[in-house]
Every structure is written in structure tokens, then in C-alpha cells.
Symmetry: C2
DNA sequence: CTTGACCTTCCAGTCACTGTAACCCTTATA
DNA sequence: TATAAGGGTTACAGTGACTGGAAGGTCAAG
């Protein structure tokens, strides 16, 4: 099956799929005319990657997950560890964003938002009111 | 004042400050020996940038904020609008991460994490259990 | 006079793609 | 049979916001 069809089935762009070949994630056979030829197994890998990326795993993590996916002798412990690390990371990011949100919220609520130049947001950014 | 001192006062790296000159954000004078020479106003701009970036504004947003910062005739309305857009964006990101977290949490909780290969995380990623 | 700490420029790398150009292949239609 | 549309191919540049490293110039202290 050629790359356009693979893109439709995996919900990835053609560009992305070619990129995944470049970085040796999914390497399809080639037909005589040079076209890529994706097997069913290749398609499964692409779908796997689409979902893993969608869950926030980096390409390197996806590479690792994919190797576990293809390994009949994997232990679920290894998979769980990766997912758990990602969970911790996501938690950290949420906390960070939440704190940004709180700060910005306070600033926005204190800003009149009128024609005048006086602005607590600018004041805060310029460090006029230390903190 | 030279770049090392500017870095200390602004809490930015020397590399970052040079980068900010490259992209025409803060353009200090030069001494005869070619060294950058930061004025007090330049330092204030660098501090302003450090704080704005820390609050999650992109470089382009910082450029805009900086121009408002330097404009005595700004209206706080304009500043508030930018901050508010960022707030909406942060909210979207938090929601997205929260949803990722929920999905991953469910998967991790259902995974035994033992020596065996059976793994609901892998199953989900491979699309075995549709949804 | 040398050492070390600072400064300079320029180029490459990061991450995960995306855009663009220039070209080749296949299939359907006039 | 010519051609046009819609695939496919490669290679290179750009994104955002830096960061690292090499190769070299400058300055102050001992």
C-alpha cells in the first residue's frame, strides 16, 4: 500500500510518515518504481505511533514503546514505568501552567483595561513592584 | 555595562542576551573594543523580557509588550487584551494536559506492571480495544 | 609575560515536524 | 496518442527559542 493510503489509515500526514522513515521508526519496502510500500504491520506501527505521540510521548519514548510493542517477551512493568514517568511529567507541567494562570489572572483582574497607560501588568513585568 | 553583568542583573544567560540582539529585541551600544555596552534602559528591557518569557509569552508577544512598555501613550486595554489571550491559551493547554493525564492514569492503573507481556497500555496504543 | 576570565563571531544542533521546489509515475480522458 | 490531474520521489530550508562549541580577541592581575 502506498504512502497516501497509509496516511489515511494512520491519521498521520504523508510528510510525517516520510519523516518517520528518515529517523528509522517505520521502514517500508520499496516497489520497483521507487514508491514506498507499506505492509499491514507497518500500518499498525504507524497507528501505534500516532496514538503514542497523541498521548504526549516523545519520539524517543515512542521508539522504546514500539520496541516493546513488537517484543513478545516484554514485561508490562517496563511499559508501565514509561507511562508513569510521563504521568509525573504531565503533572509537573499542569502545576506550572496553573501557577502561571494564577499570576496572570491576578494581573488581568487588576488591570482597568481602559485608555490610560497605567497598567499593573506592565508594572509587574518591568519589576516596578518588586516581588 | 558589559554582557556578563547584564546577564547577572537580568537573570538571563549571555547566550540568550546575544540572541535577543540578533532578533533585534535589545540592541546595546558598542565600545571601541567591540564589546556590547548595556545602558540602564537596556537592562530594564532585559528584565522585562525575562519576566514576560517566564509568564509564557512568546518572543513576538514580548516584542509587542515591550513596545507598549516603552510607549507612554499606551492604553492599558491593549496590554490587558494580550494577557487575556495568553490566559485563554494557558487554559486550553491545561485542559489538554488534564485530559491526557486522565487517559494515562486509567491505563497505568489497569496495568499490572509485572513480568508478563499482557499490557492494557500497549493494547490501547496499538488500537486493539477500539475507542 | 603569562594566566585566566571575560568578550567576540560564526556555525551546528535541538525537537518534531512543515513548506517548497523540482522532478518522476500512473491513470483517465479528449 | 497527447495531456492533465493527482499521485509519488528527493533535497533543502524554516519553525521557536535558544544552547553548545570552536576559534580567536581583550583585559586585569601577578
Amino acid at each position: 500500500m502506498n504512502i497516501g493510503q497509509a496516511a489515511k489509515l494512520s491519521d498521520l500526514s504523508v510528510k510525517t510518515i516520510r519523516y518517520y522513515e528518515d529517523i528509522e521508526l517505520v521502514r517500508p519496502d520499496r516497489l520497483e518504481n521507487g514508491y514506498r510500500d507499506y505492509s499491514d504491520a507497518d500500518i499498525h506501527c504507524l497507528i501505534f505511533l500516532q496514538r503514542s505521540r497523541g498521548l504526549g510521548f516523545t519520539i524517543d519514548e515512542c521508539r522504546l514503546l514500539l520496541s516493546l510493542y513488537e517484543d513478545d517477551h516484554r514485561s508490562s512493568r517496563d511499559v508501565k514505568a514509561i507511562a508513569n514517568d510521563k504521568l509525573v511529567e504531565i503533572d509537573r507541567k499542569i502545576d506550572e501552567l496553573q501557577s502561571l494562570k494564577n499570576t496572570l489572572n491576578t494581573l488581568v483582574n487588576n488591570c482597568h483595561g481602559d485608555d490610560k497607560p497605567d497598567c499593573p501588568i506592565i508594572d509587574k513585568l518591568s519589576g516596578q513592584h518588586a516581588q
